[in-house]
């Protein structure tokens, strides 16, 4: 197990800068999840940690030791690929034991390590099979098994569950979480999936355009997003944004509605701001209590209901557990509880209380 220090790390392909000054300290045993839209550089960062991509600038340390120039084989890190990358010409046992064989581990030790990993992952009956003869979920397990047999310093996962169906993904997610609880291995996990990020992470790193936007515990990102990007990215359905002006401890929306805030912000009166509110925090009120909105679409998810509204002519979403919303008329009233409002300045940064 090891800590990973990433200091001012940059990556460029020729003139194309893909990562800008990434700074990240990952503690021993921590589970860190990288999230961000497609092309933001998550895989690139992961592959740089693995040693599969060179480092253009800055320094990468594993357990305090500089690894910028170290070949992947000498980093003692395991990686689970999105494609699983199982060796097609080796059976399951061969796939899992390959790394130990390369290390010239004694035969009995290899057998014991493979057997214990296989039983952890329920792979015992499959040890003689070739990858071709496995289902997607089984392949995924083998890929995990290959990573855990050798007890590496850290685990890297690049969207390991994205090729599985929803049910299996849920199951594997729980297993990964359990495994991390058992092994306490330093892990870095790349995903697109909100729920994976929220449930697995000790800390989430939100990235956008090769820049780290916010690092923090999952609920911290959810409750106090540092900027518009994180606010919009974390949470599903995504946060609603409305233009407004700040004045006298509150915000005035475009239709003139004034919502007072719990505490005044460090902003000048008249400053243009963006107000954000999560669909699940919007309250549906009775006649005359809030802003009028028209209903465009009602989506029952079973668990709750997503209402697609037009508010001041803009698309707006509300999520509610109240089934009464199913029979809502063409017009509804929405109320913004002030403690759930997020206010962002013109630069997109979060506005803090004064």
């Amino acid at each position: 197990m090891a800590s990973i220090d990433i200091q001012n790390v940059k990556k460029a392909y020729g003139h194309v800068k893909v990562l800008h000054d990434i700074d990240l300290q990952i503690k021993d045993g921590e589970f860190v999840v990288l999230v961000g839209p497609s092309g933001c550089g998550k895989s690139t960062l992961l592959r740089m940690i693995a040693g599969l991509e060179g480092v253009t600038g800055g320094e990468m340390r594993i357990d305090g030791k500089r690894v910028n120039e170290l070949h992947p084989k000498d980093r003692d890190i395991a990686m689970v690929f999105q494609s699983y990358a199982l060796y097609p010409h080796m059976n399951v046992a061969g796939n899992m034991s390959y790394s130990l064989k390369l290390r010239k581990t004694a035969k009995e030790k290899i057998a014991a390590a493979v057997a214990s990993a296989a039983s952890k992952l329920g792979l015992d009956p499959l040890l003689d099979r070739r990858p071709k003869a496995l289902s997607g979920g089984q392949r995924q397990r083998v890929a995990m098994g290959r990573a855990i047999v050798r007890q590496p310093k850290a685990f890297l996962f690049d969207e390991p569950l994205s090729n599985l169906d929803a049910r299996l993904r849920e199951q594997m997610r729980a297993e990964i979480k359990k495994m991390h609880g058992d092994l306490k291995a330093t892990s870095i996990y790349v995903t697109h999936d909100q729920i994976e990020a929220m449930t697995l992470a000790d800390r989430i790193v939100a990235m956008h355009g090769g820049v780290v936007q916010q690092v923090g515990a999952p609920l911290e990102l959810y409750d106090r997003p540092a900027n518009l990007f994180v606010a919009g990215f974390i949470g599903s359905p995504g946060m609603n944004f409305l233009d407004a002006t700040y004045s006298a401890g509150g915000v005035t929306l475009r239709d003139g509605t004034f919502v007072s805030l719990p505490s005044p912000l460090a902003l000048d009166d008249g400053a243009k701001v963006t107000v954000g509110i999560r669909p699940e925090h919007v309250v549906m009120g009775g006649e005359g209590t809030g802003m009028a909105a028209s209903v465009d679409l009602v989506e029952p998810t079973g668990f709750g209901i997503i209402l697609h509204l037009s508010l001041h002519g803009l698309a707006f979403k509300v999520f509610t557990l109240d089934r009464a919303a199913l029979s809502a008329g063409p017009n509804v009233q929405v109320v913004f509880p002030s403690q759930h409002l997020h206010v962002f300045d013109e630069g997109g940064g979060r506005c803090e209380p004064r």
Partner: protein, 276 residues
Amino acid sequence: MKTSLLPTIAHRLAILAYVIFALFPLYWLFKVSLTPNDLLYSEGVRMWPSRTTWEHYSFVLQHSAFPTFFKNSLIVSGSTAIIVTICASLSGYALSRFSFRAKYWIVGLMLLTQMFPLVMLVAPIFKILTPLGLTNSLTGLIVVYTAFNVPFATFLMQSFFDGIPKDLEEAAMIDGATKFTAFREIILPLTLPGIAATLGFVFTAAWSELLFALMLINGNNAATFPVGLLTFVSKFSVDFGQMMAAGVLALIPAALFFLLIQRYLVQGLTAGAVKG
């Protein structure tokens, strides 16, 4: 699923017609090799002679230089195939996986070598090989054949390597393999079909090469079998029976070779085309 009979029959007939068309020359080769000399011209065109004989075969094997030609061809084609395949595996891998500064030019150069008609090159190559003592020697032939086959074989191997996901060797490196170990233990076994296809291609190309063999070799000692076949043509007559018998015998190793690799070959010829 029920398919109608007519298209199936038409399809089978078309295949049959093609097979007959393709195999007929071979059949004729075999037929003539069994026809006694006295019947060859006297019976007219017949599908099967009224009397057959193995005497051409025994003559070719016992009284001609054919066994020498055969051995020479085997040495030349076998060595060429092996050397070319080794070189092409390495260079094809490099072209597929690495980006290096001169890559563009090297590929261009390799394409360029394939553009010249070989006839143009015979004289200069003869000039080069003479002072090196490589004319009239099997080594010389191997060198020349290798040089001419490496570019195409490299492109062939490159396309096979391109079909193997990069993830696999990256996974191997993370598992603790050096780049070369990953190549040898992960990539190469997966390229066996490609290697078989390349071996087969180069082997047959060298086996049937006539131009250089004719120009660089004189005398029987270092002659390969295509050159040897010409010894059955004398100034006044062509000894068809013996020539055909030699031809049939020469087919055997090529046929055996393909039988040996055909399992890989069928995968191989399609593997590069469609990504699995």
